[in-house]
Symmetry: C2
Subunit: 408 residues, 2 copies
């Protein structure tokens, strides 16, 4: 877990989505993945609690997204059920019935309303969901619920190579609270108002409105700043559940304590977002793109995404080549306000371009610096105070291999 | 050369940029490429003639683009000089002086005004142009001018694997005219109002205004519909010179004969555009993306570009995998108006998705069809009459290899 310099009271702790009080989780195999790997995850609160969710902006929305949008409308939830191995997307009315049935069967087992279940799916698009197997596995998922979130984090993986969990603890207003989360990413990753799949939890006593505000504030500068391949999934969903189990007076949107809660949610979300970028399909490196000096923050974000999505930039970093002309190209095509006689560029801390022109630098030193698995590219446009950070990864042979073979 | 069903009077002919009467061309080695390969191309008319040019919209414009924008302002030109091996981009005031000097030295040799010379460069960004070598080679380039355009087409190549030329002949208003052209592409290719580098010529007696109208009409539906990797170069330039050497009354914008001329310019430009896509860096296939039934043409273009730029779609086609869910994803994220219960998708002529849902198809037959080096993806949105075609290529291991190693 990274150190959060702007929030000195946040202490990283072990665990993930079930680290906050009032939550349990499980991960089992429902037989959806041919390999027999874990493919059904469940996160449950002890009772229905305030919850918020954001979903993909893709106009082809998967059935679980359509169903979960309805279920979150009342701003409460008890559980999140996630299957991997099948996206249940482009599945028509049958897909929606499958997602509703999954919620209903789980709700019966937990003793809650079906509308208190959020349903998520991830995997291949356009293949019918083996619903019988999924429904048959729900009782085992409920029976397996425990304070350990590891199996759940593994059960949501597709082409991810590592499970992604994070949790922090902090004290505010005399109470000690926790925020935890898990996520999966890997490919088809440029979330827009949500990420592939992430479940965040807290035991802070947030009201539903505060829960929603905290989720949106965190997502906008974390999951929405990740791109692996510029492709926005049909299934992106990010949920925050607030059990309130740590006690204390309810925290509403106008409560000063919400600032600390948001910092904690951001910290967990940023950690998971960086994990998603680092574990992008085929990636060998996490690339952090920092743009500053832009005319405004929107311009900075445009510029940072143009750099982060450029296949030429991403392959150059894979090749450990300080080919900064490609960053200059990306700035120029991004649509941001730009003066080509002013911008500076650094690669891994090494200045390579000043006032829009080449400056001498040690190519050997640059090659060594770019050999790190954690590379930062910086551009200062010298036009104003706008800034943005976007996380991505390099584009490698393995991205092509993974996606040239995915369905086979 | 493709058959042009909408323009039955167009006859493909041998040659390229110097096929029309009144033009000569040359291609020599000026020593800019370490390999010693051809790297200096010249196209010259017998006298200054009506000309038009469109340039990159990248805000980081290379020095030759800045200089050529000034030189084309009077809508006349005598010659186009192109060096490969160095982009002369991010080169500041020295870069502009280098481009101006190149024009001046060539103008002296040809006996024309420096402003009648269009200068283009292509190659690596941010490395000083070896101007002395370039200027020293200009006399040889002039002495080598001949009716054969082959060497010029080869001298503008960078990572291109084939030279790209095309020419047609047609009769209108009792005169026989020719249109010819050459282009280079390969990487950093998603032109926006211009392409990487293309020089088109005609011996039709176009006025300057007709020349400009013909170029823009042709470029918008040809070069501007190509994408290799979504990256817009700093050097994109497309020029049309009209020698008038075939004789006949001048053709102004309101002349009915201009429709035939535009059809011929489009035919040559489309042929070159398809060649650029097919020869994209590392490509094994030309992919033609046809979107129809969109709410309008703008939406169709958005959707077609989203499909053509999706790394997931491009790797799937490389893998000969009819993974149509990725095309559905691209439609959904494109920003076009979409009803996810209506769209149909075909891969290489095989229907794979109907009304937004999977339909049974023969995977073996699809694999065989996608093994062709010429694959068409079609989407019908069933919303209106908008349509667009975009050409791209697959994303392969070799794209990563070429761009991970480019400067080394």
């Amino acid at each position: 877990m990274a150190h959060f310099s702007d929030s000195p009271t946040l202490t990283p702790i072990e665990g993930g989505v079930s680290a906050p009080a009032g939550f349990s989780a499980s991960g089992i195999s429902a037989g959806l993945k041919p390999s027999g790997a874990l493919d059904l995850a469940l996160v449950a609160a002890e009772a229905a609690c305030p919850a918020a969710a954001v979903f993909t902006t893709n106009k082809v929305a998967a059935a679980p997204v359509i169903v979960s949008r309805r279920h979150i409308a009342d701003m409460t939830a008890r559980a999140v059920v996630i299957n991997s191995g099948n996206a249940n997307a482009c599945a028509g009315a049958q897909g929606e019935r499958d997602a509703e049935n999954t919620a209903a069967v789980l709700a019966d087992a937990l003793g809650c309303a079906a509308t208190d279940v959020i349903v998520c799916s991830t995997g291949v698009i356009g293949v019918p969901l083996p619903t019988d197997r999924l429904l048959a596995a729900v009782p085992e998922a409920v029976a397996s619920l425990s304070p350990d979130g590891d199996a759940a984090a593994r059960a949501i993986m597709t082409t991810d190579t590592v499970a992604k969990q994070a949790a922090v603890e902090f004290t505010c207003g005399g109470s000690t609270y926790r925020v935890g989360g898990m996520a999966k990413g890997s490919g088809m990753i440029q979330p827009n108002m949500a990420t592939m799949l992430a479940v965040l939890t807290t035991d802070a006593p947030l009201t539903a409105e505060a829960c929603d505000a905290a989720l949106r504030a965190a997502v906008n500068v974390t999951f929405n700043r990740v791109t692996v391949d510029s492709d926005t999934s049909t299934n992106d969903t990010c949920v925050l559940l607030a059990s309130g189990a740590a006690g204390g007076e309810p925290i509403a949107p106008n409560d000063a304590r919400l600032i600390d809660v948001i910092a904690a949610v951001k910290a967990v979300a940023e950690t998971l977002a960086r994990m998603i970028a680092r574990d992008g399909e085929g990636a060998t490196k996490l690339i952090t793109v920092n743009v500053r000096g832009a005319a405004n923050d929107t311009d900075a974000e445009l510029a940072a995404f143009a750099i982060a999505n450029s296949p030429l930039v991403k392959t150059a970093i894979f090749g450990r080549d300080a080919n900064w002309g490609r960053v200059a190209m990306a700035l120029g095509k991004s649509g941001c306000e730009l003066d080509q006689t002013r911008f500076d560029i650094t690669f891994a801390g090494i200045p390579v371009c000043s006032a829009g022109q080449a400056i001498a630098f040690d190519e050997e030193a640059a090659f060594r610096a770019l050999s790190s698995d954690d590379v930062t590219l910086e551009a200062d446009l010298h036009l104003g105070g706008g800034e943005a950070t976007v996380w991505t990864c390099d584009l490698t042979y393995d991205y092509v291999r993974i996606n040239g073979e995915y369905r086979s």
